[in-house]
């Protein structure tokens, strides 16, 4: 059984690299998308996009850009999960299903233990908009404000208004309840808000970050964003130092241009602007989001990915499982080395891109 195929037929991996080089090398405006990769894979992919004067996007750009939009248009207070674990005396959880975006979250934040630094008192928690039955953490006093996801901006805005002592158009009982939450937050010595951009939009995040900033007028409050899936945060970092910009960046003019609409992978494909694509999804084999079926396609994906039988498919190792990999670690808010948990001979994304890049015809510049 080979781990590469062409239009659904198994072929030797070396042949697959050669086919991939032909497809990408012949394109006028190739797209490097998915980008579900470790830092080395992202680095190779971005250099490839630059070399081919194509564009690159990440499969979770929508979520990563929701946080970045707030960052680059207003302000953000952030901390590490370590500080949240060791110092927070108040946790503000925003949105449903947080632990599905970060399964180890409650284990890591250890909210049931008293903080080691600062107030060292029993922690309090407020969860705005949890799923039914979700807002229960053993050993933690946890208040909730029920809110559907579309109600979150309104709730956060009202809470922010009351923190700032401004009026809200709510009844007395509702205002009183909000005031109690506002007072609890203001009484915190080191509060931490936790959210996942995957289920929030930029305006909600902006309101939340505004609330956090306002609380700093009198006490300390900060935030822990839960990063987007498939290595997005690490890819954003590598993209940042390599090009100055996050993904959704193109090189058509020979230098990087960042445009979140223009270089959206799905739009580039479905509008026919991109004439070939390299789809990378090394963590879980997530499929591409576009509808167009006739696009010349090269896929680098984890074993078990559902190949739809078109184009070149090359199985790559999962970062941190099949091979050592540098990834952004949610638990430390930093880039770390993940040692291979089940080393295999599968190529990494960087290996595969290196092999493809070595097979371009001479018309492709270096």
């Amino acid at each position: 059984m080979t781990d590469a195929s062409l239009d659904g037929r198994s072929i030797p991996r070396e042949d697959a690299y050669a086919h991939a080089a032909r497809i990408l090398g012949a394109a006028h405006f190739p797209l490097v998308a998915g980008l579900g990769a470790d830092v080395a894979g992202a680095r190779a992919a971005i250099l490839l996009a630059e070399r081919l004067r194509g564009a690159f996007d990440h499969l979770a750009s929508r979520d990563a850009l929701a946080d970045l939009d707030v960052l680059r248009s207003s302000s953000m207070f952030v901390t590490t999960p370590n500080e949240a674990r060791l110092r927070s005396d108040f946790i503000l959880l925003v949105g449903a299903g947080l632990s599905s975006y970060w399964p180890a979250m409650f284990d890591r934040l250890a909210l049931h233990e008293p903080p080691r630094f600062g107030a060292q008192s029993r922690r309090r928690a407020l969860w705005i908009g949890p799923k039914r039955g979700e807002a229960h953490i053993d050993g933690v006093d946890i208040d909730t404000i029920a809110a559907a996801s579309h109600e979150l901006p309104g709730v956060l805005a009202a809470l922010r208004a009351r923190v700032g002592g401004r009026p809200v158009a709510l009844g007395d009982a509702a205002t009183k309840k909000l005031d109690a939450h506002a007072s609890a937050m203001k009484a915190a010595q080191f509060g931490v808000a936790v959210w996942a951009a995957e289920n929030l939009d930029a305006l909600t995040i902006e309101m939340l970050c505004g609330l956090v900033a306002d609380l700093n007028a009198a006490t300390r409050f900060t935030g822990v964003p839960i990063g987007a899936r498939s290595g997005a945060t690490g890819v954003v970092q590598a993209s940042g130092w390599m090009t100055g910009f996050p993904p959704r960046t193109g090189f058509g003019r020979g230098y990087p241009e960042h445009d979140t609409w223009r270089f959206d992978a799905r739009r580039l494909v479905d509008s026919n602007e991109a004439d070939a694509a390299l789809w990378i999804s090394a963590y879980d084999g997530e499929p591409p989001p576009w509808r167009r079926a006739d696009l010349p396609l090269v896929t680098l994906a984890a074993a078990g990915a559902k190949a739809d039988g078109r184009g070149v498919f090359i199985t790559v190792g999962c970062p941190g499982r099949d091979h050592d990999a540098v990834d952004f670690a949610q638990e430390t808010s930093s880039l770390v080395l993940r040692k291979a948990s089940a080393p295999s001979k599968l190529p990494s994304v960087a290996d595969a891109i290196g092999a493809i890049g070595a097979r371009f015809s001479e018309d492709v510049p270096c």
Binding site: S75, E83, W241, T243, V336
Partner: protein, 544 residues
Amino acid sequence: MLTCLRGGHVVDPANGVDGVRDVYFEDGRVVAATAGRKPDAEYNAAGHIVMAGAIDIHSHIAGGGVNTARLLLPETHRGHRPRPSGAPLSTAGWSTFETGRLYAQMGYTTVIEPAISAHHALHAHLELADIPIIDKGFLTVLGNDDFLLQALRRRESPAAVADYVAATLEATRALGVKCVNAGGAEAFKENVRSFALDDVVPQYGLSSRQIFQTLQQAVVATKIRHPLHLHMNNLGLPGNVETALATIDASQGLPLHLAHVQFYSYGKEGKNGFSSAAAQFAEKIAANKNVTVDVGQVMFADIVTISSDVLRQYNSLGAARPKKGVIFDGDHNGAGVLPYSYRVSDFFNAVQWAAGLELFLLIDDPTRVFFTTDHPNGAPFTTYPEVFALLMSADMRAQWLSRLPAEVLELTNLPSIKREYTFYEIATMTRAAPAHLYGFEDRGQLGPGAVADVAVYKLQSNRAGMFRNAAYVFKDGELVVRDGVVERYSFGKTLRVRPEYDRAIDQRLDAYYDDLYGLPRSLFEVSDAALPRSYAFAEVACRS
């Protein structure tokens, strides 16, 4: 391959050279003139100034803070021209690739990033790995870390503290230690909003003075060459020259480097309560030979401030231009990233600009005052050529002064200072002295055995133009820049120290991480497996 630079005016203060002569190098090193051997390559350097490659001792070029600034300000660094063949991403605005190219074009061949948090060391190395041409290295920030503060509170032995410092340098693969507003980031987490030299960190009962003094001693004990690199308290505040003077008084006669001192040279005179106190500061520096400083010159430009002084950055949030920023409470550390714009019409900015030049010009020992803009905090490093020109020309300074708000002229001594830097002094400040400051035996000079990092500038009256585009730059003996254009896209080395220490501290630290974070300490260490295979380190020897 033997290369000869023929007939240039060689300015090499480390070897006392200031005159026309030939420079030879072979296999990446400078060699003595070899009688009878014909060079394989020869460059006519007549009419040119030949110096060793410049060394930047303090420039924020890599790491989480810099990258946050890139992502915060996409509007400020758009590229505008395609990159040349063979030099990927070298025109991508503010990318690591562009950073290496722009430095090399100015004849800089070694640049030190001064502020990396220990837990983000790997990130910094990955960015350094993508900076082409130049050699680089970084300082690890200590002074707000619980392990250290606990050790001080428990009055542990100086040897234990030195072991901890050395172990941290080893784990992060750094070149030295920086301390930023000692205790201030920790105090800010406890909602302290101002933090001076004798203020005490809550919970620990330690003053900023005690923390920096202990680190100063520990750095000496590790035998690494670079002294403690200190970012003092009260950065940017009116009257903060008093803090700077008190810090020098507290320096115990031990080596101490004070970073970007322009930001600490302010008095409270005048109707705005803000004036230059550079003269007073310069006198103090001159009298304390254990102290070195870098200036952190301000230039009138749009910039971004990237600082581990999170308390100070928080207090500046309202003054950001444009109004946005990031405030980060890190693991035993902090950082703030805020854009700003220095304007020639702004009274305060004009005083800052003048105070920086005063420091350069009033400290008459170029071996103890270093050339920085605290890039990008005071100005981007791309303004260096203009700053060199200002130092070398009183006329040019007079022209600039004429554009400043009139009241500024009464609050600075700059108009009365006629000193003009010579090439010899420029080379001292940017080559010989930085090599000494970091213990680089074979850099910053052109004696036999030195690394063949060489910058050749075409002599011209337009000093800024001269320094902006070197005629030739050689890195490890290879021609990398010709007429200000990068010709060869090589990758340099990362400089680090490896002090000896009692490894028992590693076990203690392992246990500390397990207990405190519930995470293995190895998760935060920099290992070879995490770095690109091509990434190369060079070790800077400790004192014997």
